[in-house]
Amino acid sequence: MSQNYGTKRIVTGAHYGLRDWLAQRITAVLMALFTVILLVQVLTASSLDYYSWSGIFSQQWMKTLTFVVIVSLLYHAWVGVRDIWMDYVKPVGIRLTLQVFTLVWLVGCAGWAIQVLWRL
């Protein structure tokens, strides 16, 4: 990269290499653990009506864990979807637009999920 400032500055890209690579893996492990923990609770539940299902999420430790997983998913999906745009979409304007859409979509989804969690 001879000149990456002023009018030649690259406005989209991945100069975050290792940090995002590592974050994607750590968040993946957290989500995988969450999946196993949720699965165990569902499979050991006596029945799967509204009360036992919502009961799983209303325990404080499960609320906290679910919150961590929502934030993990936000970051994990951001890295992954941004990779897709960087691989296939070359025009900077379209790529930036798609990245902004991705951020809005993900933050919106995470906000909704946290809102649901907080009501429990």
Binding site: R25, A28, V29, A32, T35, Y50, W53, S54, F57, A77, G80, V81, I84, T102, W105, L106, C109, W112, A113, V116, R119, L120
Partner: protein, 139 residues
Amino acid sequence: MADNAKTPRPVYRNIHVTDIVSYRLPPAGIVSILHRISGAVLFLLMPFIIWMFDTSVSSEISFDEFTSVFRGDLGWFFKLLALGLIWAYLHHFIAGVRHLIMDATHTVSKEQGHSTAIVTLALSTGLTVVLGAKLFGLY
């Protein structure tokens, strides 16, 4: 030297969209592109996932709304969406664990990549069929 210059040298270029159909992918390549596709599916269906979470845990009334959507006239459509989610989640999960194992052990060989790719594909499609049959009430 003169002869050397005349021999056609192999040209490697990026795969073009029109090549995709004729391009033969090894199992590891299939797992890789499906990992990306399943990730994109999960990203796009995220509002549906959260809608299911919202309606299923918020109240008894919303729980009924959640279950009735899968029994109503458009039940088949929501079941198809759920089936897509089940496949995408299973594939992304299993292919992701495969990635983590490769990252953690550093024991990456061509043969190992081939066999773990086949295991990934077999597990994800097998489990999707089993859970899909349950979803559509076949057992």
